[in-house]
Symmetry: C2
Subunit: 202 residues, 2 copies
Amino acid sequence: MTDTKPYHHGELRPALIDAANAIIRDGGIEGLSMRRLADQVGVSRTAPYHHFKDKNALLCAIAEIGFEAQDRMIREILDVEDDASSQALFTRWVRAYIRFANDNPQTYDLMYGKEIWKRGSPTPSLQQISKASFRLWVDLVERMQRQRVLPADHCALRTAQASWAALHGLARLLIDGIYVERQDLEEIADTVVALITRSDAN
Amino acid sequence: MTDTKPYHHGELRPALIDAANAIIRDGGIEGLSMRRLADQVGVSRTAPYHHFKDKNALLCAIAEIGFEAQDRMIREILDVEDDASSQALFTRWVRAYIRFANDNPQTYDLMYGKEIWKRGSPTPSLQQISKASFRLWVDLVERMQRQRVLPADHCALRTAQASWAALHGLARLLIDGIYVERQDLEEIADTVVALITRSDAN
DNA sequence: GTCGAAACTTGACACCGTCAAGTTAAAAAT
DNA sequence: ATTTTTAACTTGACGGTGTCAAGTTTCGAC
């Protein structure tokens, strides 16, 4: 006999996050409503509000998980530490980044989209984790500058911002479906790498 | 005596577009509701639906105007045709592009955001005008490749997509308020230019 | 065993986009 | 000039949204 709807769900918070993640994964942020979410998990409309201040807080929690997943993936790339040249490492990173955006478009949109950052407001912990994530990129850029894969005529921060803008822009074009076809993605990603890395290291 | 609310507004369509444009300009797409818009113009909730099939159609019309304004601005840059070097011309374009995004963030978001392109569906005429706008960029990139300002190891289309992704990414970071402070914008824009243009032309 | 706190529910409010049916005015046809 | 058609506009309604307030149920600590 399965438990027949006890008054206290017991595991509501994680259940909400799981369900919300699934809904967002196929349907995007627009497809997620607090009411339908609650309904799907089997609780009343307002039950989620005892675990999340509001919809924004729930979205931030999910975005955090997204950042964690992304970081995990990136770190795997870095930890390989094989014979790969710096240029190859950089290329691998870019490809991994774009692949993440391609595989999890809705999550990426949530993580870096304006739903949280402009319309809503990022949770302190989300701000922290996203900042750490960017810091990782700055570090890589600095390393690439030292090894002359990236130009060093601007400081690491600026170069990181500029180059990350290129990555992010490509991801966004892909996700929003503007000017970029999915099938051309890898080729364009390589073009981006070629564009921003020093040609003599190519 | 001013006209006291005739049954037929007479100029509803343009009035709607004007009002909607103003609402979006300060408040973004999220701030625009068909009901408030109608109310502000002084007609009933559903009156706008006689001039626009739905909200999406209205947004597309406004986005079109945005593209026209952007094109006008870009063409002004191009028509100067003074002694400027190719590199300088390119820089000027990038700066103008970013300035447009900075001055009209909400309009930019509408023009290139997923509200229309993913969640909604772009009107045929919007598709056409946005395509033409990108075509202009491809032409510039081609020219820059011939003059060795941009690398020519990938075809013009790919290079255009990649470089425009960089611009677009920067614009988006700015608009969505991620990782980029408004005051650093020009510096980052210049870094983007330095990053994607060939160093020997610098 | 009682009590307080936490988890959860129902009801309500103010919004939203838009469809259907009705009303009014202007334009076209006679 | 009168009728008819058509377009512009209105009111009413439906189903959806986020979330607040107040009430109910259950659990954990004393």
